[in-house]
Symmetry: C2
Subunit: 227 residues, 2 copies
């Protein structure tokens, strides 16, 4: 099956499975299955106990948290190749956020018990897991710093820049996920995001088209004078 081959190629490339090794990958994959889901599907709900780990094969998934008043936000967006296990699976605690598809999505569903057995027995897998957790912790630290120190325009600029290959001076950034989701991830309203993107375009740093933003000048985008 060509599709299956394509998937396993993506998996092998993912930093997680690269570190875990073929054996662990084989072991986790055997009892797993993929699912094709339309946008706005709830993968799991805040408060549930995890039965699966999710690995995004295509599209993107948002971690959506709801506070006591019912207000919602997106904590993080995970794209193709990312395993986002919500450490809930490790701790055996209820999710503290929901998983919602932000685009049409293909996900690999890995049974949580198989995974738990795996990390108990396979040191390479457990090592890979630790590295994944460490990286994810750092992502969140970075976001906290972003929210505390940087104004909206700068957050948007960084968000776009991070999606362009490091060394490239320019590149296209897909914005397939709804504006509202991106805005929530960045801690602002859709209105503010819209205005900010326009401002960056006016500055000549990006060019907007339908579902993408073309980074024209990375240096300009990241310019520190940027408010």
């Amino acid at each position: 099956m060509p599709d299956r081959a394509l998937n396993s190629d993506l998996l092998r490339r993912s930093p997680f499975f690269a570190a875990a090794g073929e054996a662990a990958m084989e072991r986790l994959l055997r009892p797993s299955f993929t699912q094709q889901l339309p946008r706005s599907t709830v993968l799991f709900d805040q408060g549930e106990v995890p039965n699966f780990l999710h690995l995004v094969l295509a599209g993107s998934v948002g971690l959506q948290a709801r506070d006591e008043a019912g207000a919602e936000t997106i904590v993080e967006i995970f794209g193709a190749g990312e395993l986002f296990l919500a450490p809930a699976a490790i701790l055996g605690l209820p999710y503290l956020a929901s998983g919602v598809t932000l685009t049409d999505v293909r996900v690999l569903m890995i049974p949580a018990d198989v995974f738990r057995e795996g990390i108990a027995q396979d040191p390479a897998l457990s090592r890979a897991m630790m590295e994944l957790l460490a990286r994810h912790w750092r992502l969140m630290v970075d976001q906290v710093v972003d929210l505390k120190l940087r104004p909206a325009e700068r957050r948007v600029a960084r968000f776009l820049a991070r999606r362009v290959p490091e060394e490239a001076g320019a590149g296209a950034v897909d914005l397939q996920e709804p504006r509202g989701a991106i805005a929530a991830r960045l801690g602002m309203t859709p209105e503010t995001l819209s205005r900010t993107l326009n401002a960056l375009e006016a500055r000549g740093a990006i060019r907007l088209s339908a579902k993408r933003a073309d980074v024209v000048d990375r240096a300009l985008l990241m310019q520190t004078g940027l408010r």
Copy 2:
């Protein structure tokens, strides 16, 4: 040495060593040593490569991040019994924040290489580490939700409430660390923190004295109508 006995008791109680087991604890502790440091000491600096893991024995330590413009904030505050290894040690990457003592502090310094060997060889330790990372990830998720959804007064209320035993209706919260540090941890200025604490006192939820806040009415403090 009575001091040593006291420490090891604290250590045994810490969720990390409780999970890691006596053997791992013994192994990590042998090559470690403690240090007594005055307030405002830098334990390690953003950008450095980690040589030690730190376990707070007394006092509190702040994870302080600096952005490109030189502005600073406190990402998290760690208190007695907490191992805060900045996953840098696992990944072997430079710290993305500095560690600064917010009070007089006693810390246990665990050599990073001993720790790395430990997690490679001892499954119980590696398991404990994973759980620690998972818990820390959740702390950061919680903080992101806080910053995105809750106004200043509510953040302060939650911060105070989290420091009172769950089931207790009232209790004293130590505010030993400088106001500026607490404000930064909460993503606000010292001025705003000061005003907010006054507002909570006016509301009758807390009573302020020198270096502490007495939670008088936990329910009132966490009241959802609270702006």
